[in-house]
Every structure is written in structure tokens, then in C-alpha cells.
Symmetry: C2
Subunit: 198 residues, 2 copies
DNA sequence: GCAATACTTGAGTGATTGTTCAAGTATTGC
DNA sequence: GCAATACTTGAACAATCACTCAAGTATTGC
């Protein structure tokens, strides 16, 4: 009996995410959002409570896209360490190919959000914790395969790799140079034991 | 003949910097700035052109504080690698002790500023380039002292260390845990060759 | 066709944004 | 004490902010 919704909620969410990604939360106005989503303020607020809630929904949408690509990358039939290496190579490729140089919405959000905002900080932290767990799992596989010294702590090394993602993301902002970023990862993988096996 | 300025320009700048540091550029209003500096809008704009120029001045003030501490740290009479290590330990101590968990104004700025804003991005990038050069110099010393494999590229390793700073800064936002951050640096220094000598 | 339903519209809310500027005031050289 | 100088003040600016809501409109079950 009711009039059906005309627009695609998910498509609007993706468009909103794209704006937040490019500009950050504070620099994005509701006007920007209505323009990007082609939604009137009324529809926007009817669908997503308010600007903040829309932002949080955008964070979730962003991460679910990431999660997918991480899974396929870390479950290929390459060797464990090679899979991790491929992940970082892919990350660099993505960064370098982005003409807007937007970086990662999650990392940007971590630094834009004040520490008092526990909800957003917790949410994003948990997302990276999930990736960290995946990394640790692959590192354990590497130990089982004899690729990684069994005396090393996989969880600790997973944290190093996560910090490596952060490092890449910020470094890229200062100097978007693919070979140089690859070299940073070469040297980071040195920490996993021995020279890179490229 | 003219009436002398009543307030201390540098003190006002430091107060403004503190607000930008805590809240970021966009989240800081001119009202926040007048409140923090105890300056009326007129005096603020008379002294520092506008909000943006004040922000850039704050970035410079922030970095000159950093530069000083880096210099003393990297010129102690410890061994070269130990000096680098001490720098990172100091960095972690600072981060953990900050009750506001503000992070680094420069890193925060890098991620908040869109890539189109070349002026601010260039300025901050150059600041880190200066630190990178210092790191490379110390790493060369380490090679001369037999602490670092002479076949490694000091400049490349300096970039890894800079990325390490970035990594720490972001990781700290997700989990402010000192021992864990130290462990990340332990593992990062693994990449410089061999286990940490702590 | 007729209620009933609820999505869409966009003008309008008050608050806040960054910025300006004329009026007021304090100091100095003479 | 008197100009001359210029710093200080804060009200006021237009623009924008996030957000609301009554009016308009399209669809459905009957």
C-alpha cells in the first residue's frame, strides 16, 4: 500500500562513502552528500538518521569491500609469505593508481577522529584487528611451511605488518612513488627473516 | 610612537597550535582559536592573516619543536643504531604519556589534507624529508661503525624508519599499549639486520 | 475510483562558519 | 598636553552549517 522507495539505498551509500573518502568527515557537508547521492535532505535523513550515522554506515560499507579483497588475496595457492607479499604489492598498486590520492578511508578516519570519540575509534580499530588476525594466521602457516622461523611470534609480526600498512599509507601521501614504496616493503619483509625472495 | 602590541605573538601561536593539534584543522573554529589565544578576532587576523595562515604557522612552530629534540637525540654519544632506537623509544613514551592521545600534528595533517592542497602537503612532506635525511646519516654512521651491513641502502632504510614512525602513530590510535608498540619497533629493527640488542 | 500509506520535495530553521572594520584606546615623540 | 600612530575591541557580515517538516505526490488494496 505504501509508495515504494525510488532510490537505491546501497548505491546512495556508496556515493556518500566516496565523498567522505575524498574529503574526510568534517570537510564533507550535507550539501555535498545530497549532491553526490542525488537525494534531497529529507530522503537522506529519512534513510540514514543523520550525517554521523551515514558516515558510520559508509565506514562499514568501505570495510566490507576491503574484507572481500583481503580474503581472496590471503587464500590464494601461493606460499604463505608470498600471499602476504602479494597483498602489499596490490595495496601499493591501488594507492598509486588512485588519481585523487585519497588514501584509506579507515586510516584517514583514525587520524581525523579525536580520541574521545570512542565509538568510531573502536569500530575502525576492530576492523584492523580483524585483518591483523588474518595476517597472524597466514604467518602461522608460514611457520608450518618452514618459511618463517618458528621462534618468532606470529601475532607480533602481524602487528608489524599492520603498522606497515599504516606506514605505506602515510608515506604515499608525502611521495607517491611506486618503486620506492615497494622498496619499503622489501625492507619491511626483511624483518620477517632474511632477504626478500622476489 | 605607535601603541605597542600587548600580547605575546609566540605564546598565542603555541596556544593555537595546541588547539589544531587536538582537533585538526577543519574541526577547529575561529571561535576556538580566539578562546585559546585570548585574542579578539581583529587581533588574530591582524597578527596571522587568516585561519589557514595561522595553521601553517602552527605547523612550522610544531616542527621546530620536534627538530630540536630529534637533533639532541640523534647526536648523543650512544652507538648509531642505539641512537635511532632511543629516538623510537622516546617517541613511544611521548605518545603513551599524552592523556589526549593527539598523535602527531604533522601526520594528522598529512591525512586530513586533500592531495590538491599542494602547499600544505609539500610543507609537511619536506619536514619529514629532513628527518629522513638525518636518519640516513645516522645509518651511514652505523655502517662505518660496523653496526649495519654495508650492502644495505641507508636512504632506503631511512624511508623504512620514517614509515615506522607513521605506523606507530596510527597504531597507537587503535591501541595505546606501550609494550606492544615497543615490540613493533623491536621487530622493525629486525629489518636493519639481526635481532634487537635490547 | 477511493482511501490509506508513506516516500519525495525543498524552502526554511537557528546556529555557526570565517572574516571585516569602524570605533575606542593606549602609547610615543615632541 | 597634543598629534600621530596603530593596537584592541566586538558587533556585524554574508555564507554555510546540520537538520526539520509541512505540503505534494505516487503507489497499493479494495
Amino acid at each position: 500500500m505504501p509508495r515504494p522507495i525510488e532510490f537505491d539505498r546501497d548505491e546512495a551509500l556508496l556515493r556518500a562513502m566516496s565523498v567522505f573518502w575524498r574529503q574526510g568527515y568534517h570537510a564533507t557537508s550535507v550539501k555535498d552528500l545530497t549532491a553526490a547521492t542525488h537525494l534531497q535532505p529529507g530522503s537522506l535523513y529519512g534513510t540514514f538518521q543523520n550525517k554521523r550515522a551515514l558516515f558510520i554506515a559508509a565506514l562499514d560499507a568501505y570495510f566490507s569491500g576491503i574484507r572481500e579483497r583481503i580474503q581472496t588475496c590471503l587464500h590464494s595457492d601461493d606460499s604463505p609469505l608470498q600471499r602476504l607479499r602479494t597483498f602489499f604489492d596490490m595495496l601499493i598498486e591501488e594507492m598509486v593508481c588512485d588519481p585523487d590520492n585519497k588514501g584509506c578511508l579507515l586510516v584517514n578516519t583514525l587520524l581525523e577522529t579525536p580520541a574521545e570519540d570512542t565509538e568510531i575509534n573502536r569500530r575502525v580499530s576492530e576492523m584492523f584487528a580483524e585483518v591483523e588476525t588474518e595476517f597472524a594466521r597466514v604467518l602461522q602457516e608460514a611457520q608450518a611451511a618452514g618459511e618463517l622461523d618458528p621462534s618468532r611470534d606470529p601475532q607480533a609480526l602481524a602487528r608489524l605488518l599492520i603498522a606497515g600498512i599504516y606506514g605505506l599509507r602515510v608515506y604515499h601521501k608525502t611521495r607517491p612513488d611506486a618503486p620506492m614504496l615497494h622498496e619499503i616493503i622489501d625492507n619491511l619483509f626483511f624483518a620477517l627473516g632474511g632477504p626478500s625472495r622476489h
